[in-house]
């Protein structure tokens, strides 16, 4: 089941807002760790785990350190969801 990019960003926005406990956070394709001071190295891995849970995907450990923007995460989710499930 393919998800539109827009829907992925929207859902990522929900996960990120609830993760940081800030309902007013605007989340777009461009949002990254540089814009959000709470998105630091300590919260990164936890945020990634929560995104995995929400989208029912698992990122490769190689990729996780690079997934520091919403766009990069959305790209990876798109790739994983297109790949045939084992």
């Amino acid at each position: 089941m393919k998800m539109k990019r827009k829907d992925i960003i929207e859902e990522l926005g929900d996960v990120i807002r609830s993760f940081f406990g800030d309902d007013s956070l605007a989340v777009t394709d461009e949002t990254s760790g540089d814009d959000l001071k709470e998105w630091d190295s300590v919260s990164h891995i936890q945020l990634i785990f929560e995104i995995e849970e929400a989208f029912d995907v698992q990122f490769d450990s190689d990729d996780i350190p690079e997934l520091t923007s919403v766009g990069a995460i959305a790209d990876k989710i798109e790739t994983l969801r297109e790949a045939p499930t084992a």
């Binding site: 190295s41 300590v42 891995i45 929560e50 450990s61």
Partner: protein
């Protein structure tokens, strides 16, 4: 297992109304995650935990350096949390011939850290043991082969437990046991370990944090002292009033065995000093029959401290139990299979712990055991004898209701009090009383055994323990007084406390009578005392006046006397030249107290 996703939300909440607690964490892994778990879990316990994160893998250095960030953070609690992953790394770097002694050296390394911490800070130290781990090198031989990683960690954990036992101010959080409860697969996360240097899942760290606060609470006397249980379909299957005591489900095979095991657990609680009480909607005679007649009942009448079976609402009955036992609602646990009764008690008495029970009786025991309801940092003889004492208290209570007036009642109690200075026997109990007594406590100074021993040896204090027994039983040590020799004329009442179990008996008057008479004999002229209010010591407020002390004007003194959020501290004076002991109904047994 905790759900950290839910707990994380707490991090953005307002903690300002809570009691602040500085916690310093020393870990050999990224301590930020442990810190976050502690902070998030503290909200659930109404604590504003501020966590100092020790430098990465610098446990010993931080502990040894008196100017380290750890000590500067002025910790109220210190948590030492070593990881099995680092244990393994060091173990692999050992030469083969030195591996047999590695577990001891590892424990010694931790002991050095513990001793440095307790030597430089007065804060209680909480040490986490290692999560047992096998590296698959020896299969099932690992457990019997001394040079395996598995045997090594097990031995080190045993040695850690041993060293905690022999150290004052050091307490264990059994992380290994938590791991076996949830399973290593839920405790360890390899991705988190390799990408973020945190081997543990956040859910697991939240469980650990919860245990840290449980131990921390127990240190300040916040422990559960009482289990109140319903009867029908909680302690046995079926409604005794309908089926008759011969036909309730208890013992035998199937679900009856689950009830019998639950009862056996409750009997163990009773033997360990938890007051087990019954609160049931039943006719008392009917409700009592299984305890007296049924051969398969494990719990018997003597295991129950207070037995209440009537048709009043359960909240009122629990209030009655509280009145008889004279303990706080927050030290009570109530179990009942009926969701309506649970909800009623929760609403009426929010401080009472009311676990949601599994619907199926076979699941109740393991669920209750998993909750960590009955935390303790020390078990003393007095604790173990407590059920009997509570039962005596219930009998006294009935007697009091019958006695026409208080004087007659007190006289008939035939109270005998033994008073003496601190000694090796009494110090553990005295320390426990300073840590636990909240209500009848003038200054709420908390002392460890070591501190009390030091004070006793210093010669600068007059110390005193009071034990009481009466016609119904022996209370053991129930009162503690510590007086500092400020000058040849003046004694300062550093600590004066009494267990609330003996309130309204004249014990405080008796104690002060002995103290003042002995002080007068030793040519002291006055005793100075303070009352420092706390949220809980309201009952002690009037003690000094009742005992003949006169309040002093301290308005022009600097910060000598600490005011607290709970009100201004007051200073009192007892002039010894005009002191006359007040009358009590207590007889002295072997009065002796240390002189000058």
């Amino acid at each position: 297992m905790a759900d950290f996703k839910r707990l994380r939300v707490n991090l953005n909440k307002d903690y300002s109304a809570f009691h602040r607690m500085n916690i310093a964490v020393l870990a050999d892994q990224a301590s930020q995650y442990i810190a976050q778990a502690l902070r998030a879990v503290s909200f659930e316990r109404l604590i504003d935990a501020r966590v100092y994160e020790g430098a990465f893998d610098r446990m010993l250095e931080e502990a040894l350096d008196p100017d380290s960030g750890l000590y500067l953070s002025e910790p109220d609690r210190i948590v030492v949390f070593p990881s099995a992953q680092n244990y393994r790394a060091r173990f692999y770097n050992e030469e083969k011939m030195r591996r047999a002694t590695f577990p001891e050296r590892e424990a010694a390394r931790l002991c050095d850290i513990l001793d440095a911490l307790t030597g430089r800070s007065g804060a209680p130290v909480i040490i986490c043991n290692f999560c047992t781990m096998d590296d698959g090198l020896y299969g099932n031989l690992a457990g019997t082969y001394p040079e395996s990683l598995l045997s090594g960690i097990r031995e080190t954990n045993m040695l850690i437990a041993e060293s905690v036992k022999h150290r004052d101010g050091v307490f264990l959080v059994d992380v290994d046991m938590l791991q076996s409860a949830v399973g290593a697969i839920h405790a360890y996360d390899p991705r988190s370990y390799y990408l973020a240097s945190c081997p543990w899942t956040m859910d697991f760290l939240a469980d650990v944090a919860d245990r840290v606060f449980a131990v921390s609470d127990a240190l300040t006397g916040k422990v559960r002292k009482c289990l109140i249980t319903d009867l029908d379909d909680t302690l046995w299957g079926g409604v005794v009033g309908e089926v008759g005591w011969e036909h309730i489900a208890i013992g035998g095979a199937g679900v009856g065995r689950a009830y019998a095991d639950l009862q056996a657990w409750i009997r163990e609680l009773s033997r360990r000093g938890i007051a087990v009480c019954v609160c049931s909607k039943n006719d008392e005679r009917v409700a009592m029959m299984p305890f007296l007649q049924h051969p398969d009942m494990v719990l018997r009448r003597d295991d129950i401290a207070v037995f209440i079976a009537n048709w009043r609402d359960k909240a009122s009955n629990i209030r009655e139990i509280r009145r008889i036992l004279n303990i706080g609602f927050d030290s009570m646990v109530f179990i009942d299979d009926n969701p309506f009764e649970r909800e009623l008690v929760r609403n009426a008495l929010p401080d009472v712990v009311v676990p949601e029970l599994p619907r199926d009786a076979t699941g109740v025991l393991s669920y209750l055991q998993s909750l960590g309801l009955f935390e303790a940092v020390v078990i003393l003889e007095e604790d173990v004898a407590r059920t009997e004492m509570y039962r005596h208290e219930a009998e006294r209570e009935r007697h009091r209701e019958r006695a026409a007036n208080l004087d007659t009642y007190l006289k008939e109690l035939d109270m005998r009090c033994t008073i003496g200075p601190f000694d090796a026997f009494s110090i553990p109990r005295a320390a426990q009383l300073t840590q636990r007594t909240n209500q009848f406590n003038l200054r709420t100074r908390r002392y460890t055994e070591r501190e009390l021993a030091d004070m006793t040896e210093s010669g600068e204090y007059v110390t005193m323990c009071a034990s009481l027994r009466d016609a119904f039983g022996d209370y053991g040590i129930i009162g503690v007084a510590i007086l500092r020799k400020d000058s040849p004329e003046t004694l300062f009442l550093d600590t004066f406390l009494m267990s609330c179990r003996v309130a309204k008996r004249g014990v405080e008057t008796f104690m002060i009578g002995v103290i003042a008479s002995e002080a007068k004999r030793d040519n002291y002229r006055e005793i100075i005392a303070e009352y420092i209010p706390t949220a809980k010591n309201g009952p002690a407020k009037g003690l000094l006046r009742e005992m003949g002390f006169v309040e002093q004007d301290i308005s022009d003194e600097p910060d000598d006397v600490g005011d607290t959020v709970d009100g201004p501290a007051t200073r009192w004076r007892l002039a010894l030249d005009s002191f006359v002991p007040q009358k009590t109904y207590i007889e002295a047994e072997m009065p002796m107290i240390g002189g000058k």
